[in-house]
Amino acid sequence: GESVGLHLPTLSVQEGDNSIINCAYSNSASDYFIWYKQESGKGPQFIIDIRSNMDKRQGQRVTVLLNKTVKHLSLQIAATQPGDSAVYFCAESVSNDYKLSFGAGTTVTVRA
């Protein structure tokens, strides 16, 4: 699979490989995290979320990992497909505050 250790704005991945997208969050009080996918010309689409009492959560072909010690969040996409090409955003929020703060986003391009 292909991954980025630090947040990078772009990620190019071979079709069929696994992708890892990283996100560093800034607020140690944040306890709810979401990954969104945004395709060109569309609004952000919910992928998966995780709360701070968990360190891993799995969905369909996606896994989110949370490391609160270093304030790091990652999204793993298994068997990346052309339809996975998009910009991926992580977002965080704090208890009793429903506002989301978004990261800068990572553009994922899938190579055939």
């Binding site: 609004g43 952000p44 009793n96 505050d97 506002k99 978004f102």
Partner: protein, 112 residues
């Protein structure tokens, strides 16, 4: 299920004009949000609303006005448009703090 609809989807206006972007949701969600998305800044919260007649400022509220007389509508008004308000605007809604925030398809606004 219509979800969230935004109008207009595309708008060109002149500096100094008043512009209103409409947002309508069919889920009866309590919370509604307006974000703007600019290259290099990601998604930034402009205003949000916890319920009808309750609104509050987000990260970048200057130059914008909102209202929420009905639960399903959350219009955003630019009182006197400036070029710096050229952006893509996203409306979003959520049932509550523990629930996913869903986004509309966006309104592309150009101020000339």
């Amino acid at each position: 299920d219509a979800g969230i609809t935004q109008s207009p989807r595309y708008k060109i206006t002149e500096t100094g004009r008043q512009v209103t972007l409409m947002c309508h949701q069919t889920w009866s969600h309590s919370y509604m949000f307006w974000y703007r998305q600019d290259l290099g800044h990601g998604l930034r919260l402009i205003y949000y609303s916890a319920a009808a007649d309750i609104t509050d400022k987000g990260e970048v509220p200057d130059g914008y006005v909102v209202s929420r007389s009905k639960t399903e509508n959350f219009p955003l008004t630019l009182e006197s448009a400036t070029r710096s308000q050229t952006s893509v605007y996203f409306c979003a809604s959520s049932q509550g703090r523990e629930n996913t925030i869903y986004f509309g398809e966006g309104s592309w606004l150009t101020v000339v």
